[in-house]
């Protein structure tokens, strides 16, 4: 069954690129929702049937780490898997993201092949 995806990034360009990369990677996905920061993402998760979240880390208002922390405390949405998509690839920040529930990370810049490799097993 096709998965519904939520893209969280303050860059509308990056949301378009990730969306295109999902298509180019040949992954089976359904609806694609978008949010510009963690606050908007929480709002979308409360209202829509989202199966997987792809989130940037470095964002205004609520960053990716704060988003994970807030999401982990909300019963209805805490188990939705989150992948971090970011230039932030240090062990410390990715380790913190994983300790808060992130299931994987994709480093920007990326190719559709890399998207397939990282996300394929979850789609």
């Amino acid at each position: 069954m096709a998965k519904n995806v939520l893209l969280v990034d303050d860059s509308s360009t990056m949301r378009k690129i990730v969306s295109r990369s999902l298509r180019q990677a040949g992954l089976d996905f359904g609806d694609i929702f978008e949010a510009g920061d963690g606050l908007e993402a929480l709002d979308v998760l409360e209202k829509e049937a989202v199966d997987i979240v792809l989130s940037d880390i470095n964002m205004p208002n609520m960053n990716g780490i704060e988003f994970l922390r807030e999401k982990s405390g909300r019963d209805g949405i805490k188990d939705i898997p989150v992948f971090m998509i970011s230039t932030e690839t240090g062990d410390d920040i990715i380790g913190e993201a994983k300790s808060l529930g992130a299931v994987g990370a994709l480093k920007k810049p990326f190719t559709p092949d890399k998207v397939n490799e990282v996300l394929g097993p979850f789609m």
């Binding site: 860059s11 509308s12 360009t13 690129i17 970011s86 230039t87 932030e88 920007k108 810049p109």
Partner: protein, 153 residues
């Protein structure tokens, strides 16, 4: 001293090869004020930590439009929010590549959120003792430059 100019060049080549699909050719880094890049749009991102400074992407209009069009897979006719956002994201990814390279030399940096300004030949300036260089790049959509102004602690 880590080879920071090379890190910038390599990070830029990686971004263009993986996400923009435009062949670019780096030139020799320029350290004077007269860099010859006639930019209309500049995206900047602040760096903090062991290396403090500003990384800036300087583009003439033709390059900004061509790069954004290639990035989004569509024709872009004028500088708009998409162009500002796209060049800002390029600054973000190049700074991210620099951060990763510096981390291998135990130099920790943090990235701010990019800011894009429109204006002719915008350049950064800092206090005395700040290092500054621009790596020029040639591309089919026009020349552009990546500037780094920094202090290494």
């Amino acid at each position: 001293m880590p080879p920071i100019e090379r890190y910038i060049t390599e990070a830029t080549l990686e971004v263009f090869a993986t996400m923009i699909f435009i062949d670019i050719i780096p030139g020799e880094p320029l350290k004077g004020q007269n860099d010859g890049i006639d930019s209309n749009l500049t995206s900047m991102i602040g760096l903090a930590g062991d290396l403090q400074g500003v990384l800036a992407v300087h583009c003439p209009e033709t390059a900004a439009l061509g790069i954004t069009g290639a990035m989004l897979g569509m024709d872009v006719a004028a500088i708009d929010d998409d162009v500002r956002d796209a060049i800002g994201e390029i600054a973000n990814m190049i700074a991210g590549g620099l951060k990763v390279a510096l981390a291998e030399s135990d130099i920790a940096t943090e990235l701010a959120i990019p800011t894009t300004v429109l204006g002719k030949a915008v350049r950064t300036s800092g206090q005395a003792g700040v290092f500054r260089f621009i790596v020029p790049f040639a591309s089919p959509v026009g020349d552009f430059g990546i500037e780094l102004q920094y202090v290494l602690h």
